[in-house]
C-alpha cells in the first residue's frame, strides 16, 4: 500500500467515525485552520501542546489578532477553560482511522480530554496500516514507564439512550485530523 492509498484509507475510516480530515501543507496552515475553527465555533481559547517553536509563535500571534487566548500549561489551572486542544499525533492507524498519542504528559491528557474540540496533527510519514504495525513502538513505550498511551478514533460518543448514536458525551465533541505533508516545513 503506497502513501497515497494509506492517506485515503485513513481519511475514509476517520470520516466514518465523524473525524473531520484535512490535508495541510505545513504548520502555518495548521495554525490558521485551528484559529479559524475555534473562532467559528465561538470558542475563546486554544491549548497547544508539543508544537514546534515556530508554530507556537505563529499561534500566539494569530490568536492575539483574533482575540483568542492561548493557554499555558499546567492545564490543571484551566480545567474548565479549554475550548480547542492543538496537539501532534505520534502514529496514525489507517485501517481503523485511529490516532495514537503518547499521552504520558498530564497536560497533553487534560487538553485532549477536556477540550470541546481536538485538532490533531499527524505527519504523513507517521501513518501505518494496522495497529500491529505500531506494536513495536508501543512496546518500547510500555517498557519505558510510566506511560499513558491513547488510541483515539473519532469524537466521544454514546448510544446509551435508546441506542441513538450521540456525539460528545464526555470527551471532545469534535475531532479534526490534519494530515501534515511536510512535518519540518
Amino acid at each position: 500500500m503506497n502513501d497515497q492509498d494509506l492517506v485515503e484509507l485513513m481519511s475514509g475510516k476517520a470520516q466514518a467515525v465523524q473525524t473531520v480530515v484535512r490535508l495541510c501543507a505545513h504548520w502555518d496552515e495548521v495554525v490558521t485552520y485551528t484559529l479559524d475553527l475555534t473562532a467559528s465555533q465561538g470558542g475563546s481559547s486554544v491549548a497547544p501542546w508539543g508544537l514546534p517553536d515556530q508554530a507556537r509563535d505563529r499561534l500566539i500571534q494569530g490568536a492575539a489578532h483574533k482575540g483568542l487566548r492561548v493557554l499555558d500549561p499546567p492545564f490543571r489551572r484551566h480545567l474548565e477553560q479549554i475550548h480547542t486542544a492543538l496537539t501532534p499525533v505520534d502514529w496514525g492507524v489507517a485501517e481503523t482511522g485511529t490516532l495514537v498519542l503518547d499521552s504520558t504528559s498530564e497536560d497533553l491528557r487534560l487538553a485532549t480530554m477536556l477540550s470541546e474540540t481536538h485538532v490533531a496533527v499527524l505527519p504523513k510519514e507517521r501513518l501505518r496500516r494496522s495497529s500491529f504495525d505500531v506494536a513495536e513502538a508501543m512496546k518500547a513505550w510500555h517498557m519505558d514507564p510510566p506511560r499513558y498511551v491513547a488510541f483515539i478514533s473519532g469524537a466521544s460518543r454514546t448510544a446509551d439512550i435508546e441506542r441513538v448514536l450521540t456525539i460528545g458525551v464526555h470527551g471532545p465533541q469534535h475531532l479534526h485530523l490534519l494530515i501534515l505533508k511536510e512535518a519540518d516545513a
Binding site: V17, A135, V149, E162
Partner: protein
C-alpha cells in the same frame, strides 16, 4: 443496586411472563437484534473471522494455566513503574481493599467508569455503606445507578429504558424540564453534571479489558471518554481486574481488540483505547505522580482455570454478543437473563461467582440453539458449558430431580425405553382418537403447555416397518446406515419412508440397525452426561462403521449431537475413541446427502412452484453448519423458495425446554409462524422432526394457512424418478 434473581422455576416463570408483556422492551430488543446482525457483519467484512476466533481462543486458552505466573510478571513490571498490585481472593476482600485504599488516601468522592467486575463484587454498595460518595460516569451506568438498578446488558447497561424514562429521571436529578425526544440535549445534561463529579473526585475506579503481563500495562476499551477522565483527573486510580484479563503480551491484546468492538457494537474500533503502564504524572497528587492500585480479583477464577470443562468460560472477552443473538434474551431482556453477568456467559458464571441459588432457575433457561456459540469471538462452546453448569448446580446442591433419574434409567435400557414408547402409543389413543394430533392435553399438564397440538406416537414404529420397507438395491453404489432417532422412528416414520425411493433410485443400499436407540441429546440436555455417554456408545456399537459409507439422519439434532458431541463425550476413550471419531465423520444430514453426495438433478422432479418457506433448524445451520444445501434442494425440487424473517432463529422447541418454559417456547413459535405467514408461503419446510413437531403443532392450533412438513416429504412429493424403473416407487 438491586438484583433479585428467582431461586426457583415457578417464580422465574412468573417473572418471564411479566417480561413478555413489556412491549417497549420487546420492540427495542427486536430492533437491536436486527441492527446488531447487520452492523456486525459489516464490521467483519474482509476479515477471516474463523481464523481470528481460533487465534483468540488459542491465545486465551494457553494463558489460563499460567495465570499465576502472568500475575507475578504483571506485578513485578507494574510495581517497578510505581503501581501497587494486589490480589483479592473474594469479592468481599476486593471491596474491603478498595475501601481501605480510599480511607488511607483521605478520599470522599469517587468516580467510576464501567466495570463488570465491580458489578460482580457489588462494589458501589460496599463503598456507599462505608460513607463514600460514588458516581458512575458511563452514561448508561449513571442512569441505572440513579435508578438503583443493575445493568441489563454488559455493553449497553440501560438498553431496557426508554427516552421517556430517562427524561423523567433527569428531571428529578436536575430539577429542569427535559424533552424526551431531544436525546442530544439529555446527553449534554449528563456531560455537564458529570463534569462536576470528575473535577471534585479524589479517586477514580476503573476496570480493564486487558492486563498485559510483559509490561504491566492495563488496557481499557471505551467509547464515551469517561474512562480517560476517571484515570486522569483524580489523584488516586484503582483498577479492579479479573484474573482472566491477564494476557501475556501486547499482540494478544491487539488480537482481541480486533474482534471485541466489532463483535460488541459493530464498530471496527471503540473510540478510545487507553494503555496505562505504572503511575503517570499527576499534578493533583502531592508526589506529582498518580497513586495507582491494581487489584486482581480471583473470586473463583483460579479454581475455574484448572477445570477441564469450565476453564473455557474464562476465555470470555465481555463483548456481550451472546446476549445480542439469544432469542430468549430478545424476549425477556437482561434483568431476566442473568444475575449480574448477562446472556449465555452469565448463565454459566452465575453458578461460580454468585452461588448456586442464583443460578438454579436461570441456568435452565437455554434452548441449546447454538446462536451464542456461533457468535462468540473467543470460541467458547457456551451451550455445552451451560448444560455442564446445570449439572454443576445439581451436584453442588446434592440434588437429582426424579425426571433425571428416570431419564437415565430408561435411556440406558433401550428395550425398556422402546417398550415404554409403545405403551405410550396405547395410552394416548383416547386423547387422539383417529387424528394424527392431540389437540387437548390431559389435565395434569399446565394450561401453558396447550400452545401447540402434539403428534401421536405411532402404533407401528419405523423399526417394525423396516422389514417391509427396506428397498432392495442390487449392485449398490454405496451403503448408508439410516439413523432414525426417537422422533423419526416412533412419531414420524413417514418422513423416512418418503426418503427411501429417492435413495434406492440412486443406488443407495440402506441399513437400519435395530440396536440403535435415542441419540442421547436429551440426556445431555438434562445434564446426565454419563447416560449420554452410555447411549452414544450403544449407537456406535450398533453400526458397522467400516461397512457403511454414510450415517444418514433426518434429524438435525441427532446429527449435530452425534457429529460434535460424540467425539467430546467419547473421543478420548482408549477403547472406543477411534471408532467414535470415525462414526462422527460419517454422519450426514438429508439435504447435504441429496445435494452433495447424490447430486440430485432438477430433471428428477416435477416442478410445482409452490411458495415454500424454510425454517433453518438450529442444529443444522449452526450445529452442522449446513446453510445452503436445503435451500438449494428446495429449488432443485421445483419449489418456489420464499425467504422469511429470522429463518435461522429457533422455533422454540428445544426438546424438553418447551415443557420447562412453555411461555417462551410459545412466543418464539408464534413469531416464527407469523414470519412464514407474512412471507405468503403455502408450505413451511424444515429438516428436523423436532422443529416439525413444534411448527406443525403450532400451525394446527393457530389454524395457520400453510402446512408444515419435513424436507424429505416435500422433496419426495415432487420426485418423479431418475429412471422409468423408479416410477414404481411412486
Amino acid at each position: 443496586m438491586t438484583t433479585h434473581t428467582p431461586h426457583d422455576i415457578k417464580t422465574y416463570r412468573q417473572r418471564l411472563r411479566h417480561a413478555l408483556d413489556n412491549a417497549f422492551l420487546r420492540q427495542t430488543l427486536d430492533t437491536f437484534a436486527a441492527a446488531y446482525r447487520e452492523s456486525r457483519a459489516k464490521a467483519f467484512e474482509g476479515i477471516d473471522l474463523e481464523s481470528l476466533i481460533d487465534d483468540i481462543a488459542r491465545r486465551k486458552a494457553s494463558a489460563l494455566p499460567r495465570l499465576e505466573e502472568l500475575f507475578a510478571q504483571f506485578k513485578a513490571r507494574a510495581e517497578a513503574a510505581g503501581a501497587v498490585v494486589h490480589s483479592a481472593k473474594t469479592a468481599q476482600e476486593a471491596n474491603e481493599l478498595i475501601a481501605a485504599i480510599a480511607r488511607e488516601n483521605g478520599v470522599r468522592k469517587i468516580i467510576k467508569s464501567k466495570s463488570m467486575t465491580a458489578e460482580e463484587t457489588f462494589l458501589n454498595a460496599h463503598l456507599e455503606r462505608h460513607g463514600f460518595h460514588v458516581t458512575e460516569t458511563d452514561l448508561g451506568e449513571w442512569i441505572i445507578q440513579l435508578r438503583r438498578e443493575g445493568p441489563s446488558h454488559m455493553v449497553l447497561p440501560a438498553i431496557h429504558l426508554s427516552r421517556h424514562q430517562v427524561a423523567e429521571l433527569f428531571e428529578k436529578v436536575t430539577g429542569e424540564k427535559q424533552n424526551p425526544d431531544d436525546i442530544e440535549q439529555m446527553v449534554k445534561v449528563a456531560r455537564r453534571t458529570l463534569r462536576r463529579a470528575y473535577l471534585e473526585a479524589d479517586m477514580g475506579i476503573s476496570g480493564a479489558n486487558f492486563a498485559v503481563a510483559e509490561s504491566g500495562t492495563l488496557g481499557l476499551v471505551t467509547n464515551e471518554g469517561n474512562g480517560r477522565l476517571v484515570t486522569t483527573l483524580p489523584r488516586v486510580h484503582v483498577a479492579l481486574v479479573g484474573y482472566d484479563k491477564l494476557v501475556p503480551d501486547l499482540e494478544t491484546a491487539l488480537t482481541i481488540l480486533k474482534a471485541l468492538p466489532r463483535n460488541a457494537t459493530g464498530q471496527i474500533i471503540s473510540t478510545y483505547v487507553t494503555w496505562i503502564t505504572g503511575a503517570v504524572p499527576c499534578d493533583a497528587s502531592l508526589s506529582g505522580r498518580k497513586i495507582l492500585h491494581i487489584i486482581f480479583l480471583d473470586n473463583g477464577r483460579l479454581q475455574l482455570a484448572k477445570d477441564p470443562v469450565f476453564s473455557q468460560a474464562l476465555q470470555c472477552v465481555r463483548c456481550g454478543a451472546c446476549a445480542n443473538v439469544c432469542p430468549i434474551y430478545r424476549l425477556v431482556g437482561g434483568h431476566n437473563y442473568g444475575h449480574v453477568y448477562i446472556g449465555a456467559i452469565g448463565l454459566i458464571l452465575t453458578a461460580f461467582y454468585h452461588g448456586t441459588e442464583n443460578a438454579r432457575a436461570l441456568v435452565m433457561n437455554c434452548l441449546n440453539c447454538q446462536s451464542c456459540k456461533a457468535v462468540c469471538p473467543a470460541g467458547i462452546d457456551l451451550p455445552y458449558l451451560i448444560k455442564n453448569a446445570v449439572r454443576h448446580v445439581l451436584d453442588q446442591e446434592g440434588r437429582r430431580p426424579i425426571k433425571n433419574v428416570v431419564l437415565a434409567k430408561v435411556l440406558k435400557d433401550r428395550k425398556l425405553f422402546h417398550f415404554l414408547l409403545r405403551r405410550a402409543s396405547l395410552v394416548q389413543k383416547p386423547l387422539a382418537g383417529k387424528a394424527p394430533l392431540i389437540r387437548h392435553l390431559p389435565l395434569f399438564f399446565d394450561k401453558a403447555h396447550g400452545f401447540r397440538s402434539l403428534p401421536v406416537i405411532q402404533a407401528v414404529p419405523l423399526r417394525d416397518r423396516w422389514e417391509r420397507l427396506q428397498p432392495q438395491v442390487s449392485d449398490p453404489a454405496m451403503r448408508v446406515t439410516l439413523f432414525g432417532g426417537c422422533l423419526t422412528d416412533f412419531v414420524y416414520p413417514e418422513q423416512a419412508e418418503a426418503a427411501l425411493p429417492i435413495l434406492a433410485d440412486h443406488g443407495v443400499a440402506v441399513d437400519y440397525p435395530m440396536a440403535q436407540t435415542c441419540c442421547g441429546l436429551p440426556a445431555l440436555m438434562a445434564a446426565e452426561k454419563e447416560t449420554a455417554r452410555d447411549v452414544a456408545l450403544q449407537n456406535v456399537r450398533a453400526v458397522d462403521v467400516d461397512q457403511t459409507d454414510w450415517i444418514l439422519t433426518l434429524c438435525a439434532s441427532c446429527g449435530s449431537h452425534m457429529k460434535e458431541n460424540y467425539p467430546k463425550l467419547l473421543g478420548d476413550d482408549p477403547v472406543w475413541g477411534q471408532r467414535v471419531r470415525a462414526f462422527a465423520e460419517k454422519v450426514i444430514d438429508f439435504s447435504s446427502f441429496l445435494k452433495d453426495v447424490l447430486k440430485v438433478s432438477s430433471d428428477a422432479f416435477m416442478p410445482s412452484h409452490e411458495k415454500t418457506a424454510y425454517h433453518a433448524p438450529c442444529h443444522l445451520c449452526r450445529g452442522l453448519k449446513v446453510v445452503e444445501a436445503p435451500r438449494d434442494l428446495l429449488k432443485t425440487a421445483g419449489l418456489d423458495y420464499v425467504p422469511s424473517r429470522d429463518e435461522d432463529v429457533c422455533c422454540g422447541f428445544g426438546g424438553s425446554y418447551s415443557l420447562e418454559f412453555p411461555e417462551i417456547s410459545a412466543e418464539l413459535l408464534k413469531r416464527k409462524l407469523d414470519a412464514v405467514e407474512s412471507a405468503g408461503a403455502r408450505m413451511l419446510v424444515t429438516d428436523c422432526p423436532g422443529c416439525v413437531l413444534q411448527l406443525r403443532g403450532g400451525a394446527d392450533k393457530q389454524a395457520r394457512s400453510f402446512r408444515v412438513c419435513h424436507i424429505a416429504e416435500a422433496v419426495a412429493r415432487a420426485y418423479r424418478g431418475k429412471t422409468d424403473e423408479a416410477l414404481k416407487f411412486l
